[in-house]
């Protein structure tokens, strides 16, 4: 091409820029006086009815720690963004937390669909952003290759299903009954279905699955009517969010079927306070069986509950104390221990290593052990079984004593009776590890 030479005189080399690598900068979100943490969770919308207390309860605990010297002199600043429990919004808000707010780590993110999308969108793995104590039981987050910075806190749905399966098998009044499962048709429910298979439990008919938010009152009534044809007092396991549990229980009220079933409600959908707030009658929840890895949030004899209640009263005034607040403060306390374990020279890599090395020894309100290690991102791995009373208190089933079983998410091994004894709460609820 004859004319190329005319312009090719523009020197390529002249436009080249030699660059040098910048000196390694400190991780974002940490100064000598502050640690910035981020939380994406629903603060508005219908999901906020169940989980809306999470950010303020975590902040309350951090404020309490800040008032008592912080973590090695650094105050914790929690930046909470509202994702409405929507995947797209969770991705946006988590990205905002990482890129705009420059948080050091994420804490307490909530939801499977939301966090799956958020984790990828915000490039948490690439940026090595610690992703602490995620509030979902989806066992897939225990994949260290895919989620190298994530630490779960809740036992998996599969673990829960295996332990429910054992509970049914071990309970003479339940074992001979027909059994049914109504579950969310996503990773939540599928994890549960897989857990029942691993636990050797076969339901009388194939599980009734529905998409999240897709179980209307009419559908709930239809499902219950169909299942009520079974003789006796069938076991009906519900693995869904609390609003769906409420829809089903209210449908049972309408159909006068509340006593037809032995209700077993999964931990995610079994918060009594929320059920009552959503309009379920106290007489309906009286007798509902549920699994938990925590003490009951109304059990003031529990040292963790009582300490967290005090903190909630002072730093989160006007907010009633329930399972969500308990869970939030517990995760906040785990976070403080993790930050302390990472030492004064705080780095993201150091924080992740600290949890891997020492996380299983952290003090916690949970009655099941924590399972963090270099190979495991599993938090709690066990449940005890209880029965709600009309006040919404979860009391040990029949025996009056909590019996806790531990298990895993992947094997057919039977759940094991746990002898774990949790650590006492640090003095005044302030970790000194």
């Amino acid at each position: 091409m004859k004319r190329i030479s005319i312009v090719s005189a523009v020197a390529v080399a002249g436009a080249m820029v030699l660059s040098t690598l910048p000196a390694q900068a400190a991780d974002p979100g940490v100064t000598s006086t502050e640690i910035k943490l981020g939380l994406s969770s629903p603060q508005t919308g219908t999901a906020a009815l169940s989980y809306g207390k999470l950010p303020k309860a975590m902040k309350a605990y951090f404020d309490y720690i800040n008032a008592n010297g912080g973590v090695y002199g650094r105050k914790i600043k929690l930046i909470a963004r509202d994702d409405k429990y929507l995947p797209t919004q969770a991705a946006t808000q988590t990205t905002n937390l990482v890129l705009n707010d420059k948080v050091f780590a994420l804490v307490g993110a909530l939801g499977t669909a939301t966090h799956t999308k958020a984790y990828a969108a915000a490039q948490l793995a690439k940026n090595n952003v610690p992703d602490l104590f995620v509030n979902t039981g989806f066992s897939g987050f225990d994949n260290k290759t895919k989620y190298p910075t994530t630490f779960l806190v809740l036992p998996s749905y599969a673990m829960e299903a295996k332990i429910i399966a054992k509970f049914i098998a071990d309970t003479p009044t339940l074992k001979p009954q027909a059994s049914f499962l109504i579950a969310q048709d996503d990773e939540f429910g599928i994890d549960g279905v897989n857990g029942f298979k691993l636990g050797g439990h076969t339901f009388t008919k194939a599980p009734t699955l529905y998409p999240q938010g897709g179980l209307s009152s009419a559908l709930a009534e239809g499902a219950l009517t169909a299942l009520s044809a079974a003789p006796g007092k069938p076991v009906l396991v519900l693995m869904g969010t609390t609003d769906t549990t409420a829809t089903l229980l209210k449908a049972a009220e309408k159909l006068s079927l509340t006593t037809k079933f032995n209700w077993i409600v999964g931990s995610v959908g079994g918060d009594a306070n929320t059920l009552l707030a959503l309009g379920v009658k106290s007489t309906t929840i009286d007798g509902v069986m549920a699994a938990s890895f925590f003490p009951d949030a109304k059990d003031t004899s529990d040292e963790y509950v009582s300490q967290f209640m005090k903190i909630n009263e002072k730093y989160n005034p006007g907010v009633s104390f329930d399972n969500v607040v308990l869970q939030a403060m517990n995760s906040a306390m785990l976070t403080v221990q993790a930050l302390r374990a990472a030492g004064k020279n705080l780095t993201r890599a150091g924080l992740i290593k600290a949890i891997e090395d020492k996380g299983s020894t952290f003090a916690s309100a949970g009655l099941a052990p924590l399972n963090y290690s270099t190979t495991s991102r599993v938090g709690y791995n066990g449940y005890w079984f209880g029965q709600l009373n009309a006040k919404g208190e979860l009391l040990p089933y029949i025996t009056g004593k909590r019996t806790l079983y531990t298990t895993d998410s992947t094997s057919t091994s039977a759940p094991v009776l746990s002898t774990y004894e949790r650590k006492p709460i640090p003095k005044n609820g302030i970790p000194t590890n």
């Binding site: 436009a15 919308g45 890129l99 690439k126 048709d185 998409p211 897709g214």
Partner: protein, 540 residues
């Protein structure tokens, strides 16, 4: 849940009969000649004393050069985005008054941008390429010839900035890579990925529409000559028919809309809300779940707020975006097949379940659950696939593919919700460049130096959907910044232009602090080396 009003949510669609008497227009060859110049104020734009030169290059492409009196030495050499390669009769939405292939020269993304740059003393040039459609080779060559012509005509030009939109950006980058030394800086606005990557995205969506909703859509393998042209027009009509049916169904019952009557999916499967099928097509093809009306986050205040954002909004966004993607796929397939002499699009080995990936979990609720998702995927798995013509693909691949060989400061501006050139196209270019830099660090001669590429991302506001007092979604009269294709504000384009001019002059990329200072007042722009956009599905 309130009934969704989609009258504004989708551009009005009708199935009015198409006039079917058009023939393919073949541009006449033009002879290279000296440009004709005239000096006059551009009164319309209040720019004094601009010399405007027009001409036709040796390949027949029209060109235009605008030279202001207060010329500062830098020429902005613009390459326009893709244009349709065939005339169209009046078709609602697609070409309401008909379409004649546009061979006109274009010197800047918009006349507003052109005016501002001229006032600042920059010269402008741009071609109207003699062959439209996916004309990467022709457009790159036209830009090369125009650059030379402009410098011969105006020897005072001492710096050349190549920039373009979409396919034009691909052409600008190709120009810089293929002919190093030709330009001093490159601006890639809404950079397109390669033809195969782009046709895979649009083609998958179109093939999905065919599989779910109307198997008589041809989609690929258009016949030669007039017969093929008629087939292409027929496809447009059928796709519009499907879109109208979907729009109508969603307007009547957004929660459980019915399937189009043209669908041959078994009736039992049509119990699945058709909105889930629409969303699935968006997710497997990579069409954005954020559109000008729907942000996949907001809902009308009240009980259905969360449900709308969770279940409806992503599907509605895909439908709004996908309408354009499907029409583009028809036009592009038609053009590319003529160009290459056979079928280019290929999904013979595509595993759509793998394609869906984690999105199947993320959007489980909107997809009506894992069970129904499996059913929808099984329908696609059983649908007849398309196998490309290897010889045609080989010919098509003779077009230049970006290598990431960057020798001059280069600035990307890419929108995170662009539904035609998704941000993954720019990410792919960044990856190519990073690989070149890694080669340099490994001692390979001739690879790229570090620090030459700057990327500015353009994102929509966190939430932007609005609803009227009745809770109905309202389509904005102006598309929210960060949504739609190449929908940049004039200020954003000029901001990039200013940095490009400075970079061309200095030979250096703008510093991070310079870029941050430049964008600090624009909440829709951000730069962050740690941000990574997902690649197009073709590359995943």
């Amino acid at each position: 849940m309130k009934t969704t009003n989609l009258k504004k949510g989708l551009v009005a669609l009708t199935t009015a009969a198409l006039v079917a008497t058009f023939a393919v227009v073949v541009p006449s060859a033009a002879r290279a000649a000296e440009p004709t110049c005239s000096v006059a104020p551009l009164a319309l734009y209040n720019v004094a004393n601009v010399t405007t030169c027009t001409g036709v290059d040796e390949k027949g492409s029209k060109y235009e050069i605008r030279m202001p009196k207060n010329f500062n030495g830098t020429l902005f050499l613009y390459s326009h985005g893709i244009r349709k390669s065939a005339d169209l009769p009046p078709i609602p939405v697609v070409a309401p008054t008909g379409y004649k292939v546009d061979y006109s020269a274009q010197v800047a993304p918009t006349e507003e941008v052109a005016t501002s740059l001229l006032k600042q003393g920059f010269a402008l040039a741009g071609a109207g390429v003699q062959a439209q459609g996916w004309n990467l080779t022709e457009q790159t060559y036209a830009a090369l010839l125009l650059s030379q012509e402009a410098q011969m005509k105006f020897p005072k030009i001492n710096k050349v900035v190549a920039w373009g939109n979409s396919l034009g950006a691909l052409s600008s980058q190709a120009l810089a890579e293929q002919y190093p030394g030709t330009v001093d800086a490159v601006g890639n606005l809404c950079l397109s990925d390669s033809g195969l990557a782009e046709i895979t995205m649009a083609g998958d969506f179109l093939w999905g529409l065919k599989s779910f909703f109307d198997p008589t859509i041809k989609a690929t393998g258009y016949s030669a000559g007039t017969a093929g042209y008629m087939e292409m027009l027929g496809d447009i009509q059928k796709v519009l028919g499907v879109l109208v049916a979907l729009k109508t169904a969603l307007a009547i019952n957004p929660t459980s809309p019915t399937w189009p009557t043209t669908s041959t999916v078994p009736a039992a499967y049509q119990a699945i809300p058709v909105r889930s099928a629409i969303l699935l097509l968006g997710l497997i093809s990579g069409v954005s779940t954020q559109s000008m009306t729907y942000d996949s986050a907001s809902g009308p205040a009240g009980a259905s707020e969360t449900t709308f954002g969770l279940v409806l909004s992503p599907a509605l966004a895909v439908l709004e975006n996908g309408a354009e993607a499907a029409i583009l796929a028809i036009a592009a397939n038609y053009d590319m097949e003529i160009r290459a002499g056979g079928i280019i699009y290929d999904n013979s080995k595509t595993n759509y379940a793998t394609r869906l990936g984690d999105d199947g979990d993320t959007y489980a609720a909107a997809l009506s659950g894992k069970t129904y998702t499996g059913v929808l995927l099984s329908i696609l798995a059983a649908s007849p696939r398309v196998t490309a013509d290897p010889a045609a693909v080989a010919r098509f691949k003779q077009m230049y593919d970006l290598q990431g060989k960057v020798t001059v400061p280069t600035i990307n501006l890419a929108a995170t919700a662009d539904h035609i050139t998704p941000p993954g196209a720019t990410q792919h270019f960044i990856d190519l460049y990073d690989a070149q830099v890694a080669k340099t660090r490994a001692g390979v001669e001739g690879a790229s130096q570090a620090g030459l590429v700057t990327t500015i991302w353009n994102k929509p506001s966190d939430t932007y959907s609005t609803f009227d007092a009745d809770g109905k979604p309202v389509t904005p009269t102006v598309a929210p910044n960060g949504t739609m294709h190449c929908n940049f504000k004039t200020s954003q384009t000029l901001l990039v232009a200013k940095m490009l001019a400075a970079s061309a002059k200095s030979g250096k990329s703008p510093s991070a602090s310079t870029v941050k200072a430049a964008i600090k007042n624009d909440a829709n722009l951000f730069v962050d080396p740690n941000y990574r956009a997902p690649l197009l599905k073709y590359r995943q």
